[in-house]
């Protein structure tokens, strides 16, 4: 489908006239060491690089620690009510399509109380940049388990461990027919800026899961990937069109196995292919040739989901980025089409479309 021109995000021509400081306001009140500080700095930087003016940007959040974020933005925005950010952002974007709309939620705001709006924003494919700051805990209410806390998680509201399974955000996004999913670690500024820019450039609902640490109530939840060294060992940066290699010297790769994917050490891990005529077991090691090439643009999300759900290594970067008609474009396109097809265009003309009689 050809994209309607009336509703593309305003894109800068050439370099941005804005710096990160132009998006920055006030003194954040998050706990020292909170992952939100890191994310906020990356968001300011990403916005400056994207170059949409602060007055053409709206940042809309719900309630929770991370939802305080709009107060630290020099853009337009709202810090609204618990769980409703996606719905409020939807109305804002449809009514004012020239705005670049960012929606910021935590795991409780976005996936528990706001779960319904999260899935429907994805299904509708409205052009929102949806940030999910996932620390797997309720911080503002002081330490209850969240819908992303693992089974058995001990918290103030689950002193004997939870007896329920968590959501996996990518799975929820894909299940709702989401077309964009990316992941970054809050402490990884370049990685975060990159996914934020990709999310902006994607037309439609784009979900960025930001792995973020809560120093007070869930410290260490993302330890495996929170440091640069950790990410080298335990994460893979996915890039569309590139081999899925990771490790200090790219000695690891992701290969397909059966209906799934797995990480293998190249030149060491291998598979039994069969026996030679002499009865000798023929052993073949995985080489770079076996490593999958990432395809974020593939409409079928099966392998993207497998990647998103890997526990080791943790997949970072843009996992899925598929073009599809956006809701807001289509709403305005339909209005234009109906305007062209119908003969009434104001209230007085509307009245005349009815059965009218005259009393003399």
């Amino acid at each position: 489908m050809e994209r309607a021109q009336i509703n593309s995000n305003p894109s800068p021509l050439g370099g941005s006239r804005w710096g990160a400081a132009d998006y920055k306001k006030g003194q954040p009140r998050w706990c020292p060491g909170c992952g939100d500080h890191f994310f906020l700095a990356s968001l300011h930087k990403a916005m400056a690089e994207i170059g949409v003016a602060p007055h053409e940007t709206a940042v809309i959040s719900g309630i929770g620690c991370s939802s305080r974020l709009p107060h630290y933005m020099a853009t337009y925005g709202m810090n609204t009510i618990h769980g409703r950010a996606a719905a409020i952002a939807t109305g804002c974007k449809v009514a004012n399509p020239n705005l670049a709309v960012w929606q910021v939620s935590g795991d409780g705001d976005g996936l528990a109380i706001g779960g319904n709006h999260f899935i429907h924003a994805n299904r509708r494919n409205i052009n929102l940049n949806m940030i999910l700051l996932n620390n797997r805990i309720y911080g503002l209410t002081k330490g209850q388990y969240s819908p992303t806390s693992p089974r058995g998680f001990v918290s103030k509201s689950s002193p004997y461990g939870t007896v329920e399974d968590p959501f996996r955000p990518a799975e929820l996004c894909f299940g709702a027919r989401g077309h964009f999913f990316a992941r970054a670690v809050a402490t990884d500024a370049p990685g975060t800026v990159e996914v934020l820019k990709a999310a902006y450039n994607h037309q439609g609902a784009s979900v960025c899961e930001i792995l973020q640490n809560c120093v007070i109530f869930n410290n260490g939840t993302h330890d495996a990937v929170y440091s640069k060294e950790g990410r080298t060992k335990n994460a893979i940066y996915l890039k569309h069109g590139e081999k899925m290699l990771f490790g200090e010297n790219n000695e690891w790769g992701i290969v397909q196995e059966g209906f799934g994917v797995k990480a293998v050490k190249l030149g060491e891990d291998g598979s039994t292919e069969g026996q030679s005529a002499e009865g000798q077991v023929f052993h073949k090691c995985y080489t770079e040739a076996d490593v999958l090439v990432h395809d974020a643009k593939c409409e079928d999300n099966t392998l993207q989901l497998k990647l998103a759900e890997m526990e080791w290594p943790v997949a970072l970067g843009v996992i899925r980025d598929v073009e599809a008609p956006t809701y807001d474009d289509c709403v305005w396109q339909q209005i234009e089409e109906v305007k062209a097809a119908k003969k009434y265009h104001n209230f007085a003309e509307l009245l005349e479309t009815n059965d009218i009689w005259e009393v003399k």
Binding site: H55, I81, A89, D355, I356
Partner: protein
């Protein structure tokens, strides 16, 4: 043949849901309105979508009240009942006056039809106690088939024209000019002229049948026209008028109209209506739930649109948190509550006024919100316009209350000239405040300025947390919260609303009837009837409920007796008692899910009044 001159006549068309009773009723009311009668209509739908054909639960009715002077209600009971089948006669006869004429299709009173309608014998008239002399019994189906046998139409299409035969009969009964009906049909079926012509043929056949067969037995009624207001008119339901009011207000204000909604009876027709008018730039979003309906509207309002969310009582429960967000963010929003029977799912297709206190108080915190209510189907237009104007000019969510009765009922709507309507001027932040502006800076009316995203230099963050009056930053300062609470209240209290009007014997009434919203017609008709008996009665009907009109206390204290009549347990009475020191009215309360009956009101109110000339009754 006797010709009865009547002030007003009520006709009720009834049949299976698929029998086209609404169309027949609509044409009849249009034909009558065209000659200058006043009209009021009300459809009565079954709760089931498609109950089995001929069954008691599948009957739908459409009542039309036509009058020489003003008619205010669709009428308590009908003078003519059209019953297209046995089930319709069985269920609808209770709406007929004792001397009503009954039109039935005898072809739909066979053994099976009678069994489905739970008649015990073949003497259905006897069972119902109906005098056969009052019945126009006509083999309607046979006659329609006969009339269209050369049309080439299939049996099903032919049978769909039965309603037009009934209409023809009724037109004969009321001496109506068929040409108007023919014009109506030719316009309605402009793309299917063969359908129009078939219908026209059947109407003529029905009319001729009446003329030839029954001219000796039945009355012909004549409703003359008085007090004609010249002009161009259309028939409009309350829900459609509400939608038109929003469209008109958006156009006047120069804003996009945004509706966020979720289907709910009896409000859904507003979503349907607005969804049609994309050529006017109307944006409608059918949301995932009621919450998102309101939340998306709040977002659209922030984005600079005239934002509306439409629902009924259960939806208000879900929207209340987002409504409150609009209160504290001081953003314009119109919340439409088409009231139905409650609590919970209650009576979804029936009408009540039981959400008033919910509208006034159903939110956490000190959360004042203007509340207005439409008095009739056509008044829905005026009040939707007024609600939008208040919301936009005072930067506040406004609740517009209608109910199932006015929403589904219709009346003759004199085409409004938008030029005659007051301007709508939202308080956009003046450009010269750039640099010094903060989000809660107010104009001389105490209203926060509106800075729509996209304007450079007015970037700001709103939110559900209390804000500092001066800086707009989050504040938990106790003095500031108290101040902001008072400013939000003062802003609502200062909204100018028209004075409360007193109708009837305003100078010397013994009794003042007080009501609000959709009961206006019934209360007015009851007052008229009491006054016709020589009694001194007045009516004060509220359309603006919060803030109350400035003269409210003065009006309510002016009369010796005051009765607040409402379709709830006394919610308006309670609100008035809260707002007016020492005011203790009498109450008339009914919660049946049905409109008031004028006769019952008259009966209840009469004992409160002395008879004319001081006689004891």
């Amino acid at each position: 043949m006797e010709i009865k001159e009547k002030e007003s006549v009520v006709v009720r068309f009834s049949g299976d849901s698929g029998d086209g009773m609404q169309l027949a009723g609509n044409i009849f009311s249009t034909v009558s309105a065209t000659v200058g009668n006043s009209i009021s209509t009300f459809p009565d739908y079954p709760a089931d979508i498609r109950a089995p054909q001929g069954s008691l639960t599948g009957v739908s009715g459409f009542q039309v009240h036509i009058g020489a002077g003003q008619v205010y209600t669709p009428g308590d009971q009908c003078d003519v009942l059209v019953a297209m089948n046995a089930a319709a006669l069985k269920t609808q006869y209770r709406f007929a006056k004792p001397d009503a004429a009954i039109i039935i299709d005898t072809d739909s009173f066979g053994p099976k039809d009678l069994e489905k309608a739970q008649f015990q014998t073949e003497d259905y008239l006897g069972e119902m106690g109906i005098d056969p002399d009052r019945v126009i019994a006509c083999p309607l189906t046979t006659m329609v088939k006969d009339c269209l046998k050369d049309s080439g139409m299939d049996v099903k299409s032919i049978s769909k024209c039965r309603n037009m035969f009934a209409l023809g009969l009724v037109c004969w009964l009321f001496d109506r000019d068929l040409d108007i009906a023919f014009t109506f049909l030719r316009e309605k079926f402009a793309k299917k002229p063969e359908v129009a012509e078939a219908n026209i043929k059947v109407i003529q056949a029905g009319y001729d049948y009446g003329h030839n067969t029954h001219s000796s037995v039945a009355n012909v009624y004549r409703v003359e026209t008085k007090n004609k207001v010249p002009g161009r008119y259309m028939d409009i339901t309350g829900n459609k008028a509400t939608a038109y009011g929003f469209i008109a207000a958006a156009e006047k204000a120069g804003l996009k109209l945004f509706l966020g909604s979720y289907p709910i009876t009896p409000a859904t027709d507003v979503l349907h209506e607005l969804s049609k008018h994309k050529s006017l730039g109307v944006i409608t979003v059918q949301c995932e739930d009621e919450i998102a309906g309101c939340a998306s509207a709040v977002g659209a309002s922030y984005g600079g649109a005239l934002a509306v969310t439409s629902t009924s009582g259960p939806g208000i429960c879900l929207k209340s948190e987002a409504m409150n967000l609009a209160v504290i963010m001081e953003l314009p929003l119109v919340v439409l509550d088409v009231q139905r029977g409650g609590p919970a799912t209650g009576l979804p297709t029936k009408s009540e006024q039981t959400d008033l206190l919910q509208a006034l108080f159903g939110r956490n915190g000190e959360s004042p919100m203007p509340v207005v209510a439409a008095a009739s189907p056509t008044d829905c237009f005026e009040m939707a316009y007024a609600a939008s104007k208040i919301a936009l000019e005072h930067m506040t969510p406004v609740i517009l209350m209608t109910d199932a009765f006015v929403a589904n009922g219709s009346g003759a709507f004199k085409l409004p000239d938008l030029k005659q309507y007051p301007a709508i001027n939202p308080p956009y932040v003046p450009e010269e405040l750039k640099g010094s502006w903060t989000p809660y800076m107010r104009n001389e009316s105490g209203v926060r300025y509106w800075a729509v995203p996209g304007r450079e230099g007015f970037e700001h963050i709103l939110g559900g947390l209390e804000k500092d009056d001066k800086t707009g930053a989050i504040s938990t300062n106790p003095e500031n919260h108290d101040l902001m609470t008072r400013k939000r209240q003062a802003k609502i209290d200062a909204i100018p609303v028209p004075d409360l009007e007193v109708l009837g014997d305003k100078d010397d009434a013994e009794l003042l009837i007080v009501g609000f919203g959709g009961t206006y017609g019934h209360l007015h008709a009851a007052m008229d009837e009491l006054r016709a008996q020589g009694k001194k009665v007045a009516l004060a009907h509220f359309r603006y409920i919060n803030p109350l009109p400035k003269n409210t206390a003065e009006v309510l204290r002016r009369y010796p007796k005051v009765v607040v009549a409402e379709q709830n347990m006394g919610q308006l009475a309670g609100w008035l008692r809260m707002k007016i020191d020492g005011f203790v009215p009498m109450q008339y309360n009914e919660v049946k899910g049905q409109p008031f009956k004028v006769s019952e009101l008259v009966e209840a109110l009469s004992p409160l009044l002395t008879s004319p000339m001081g006689e004891e009754q």
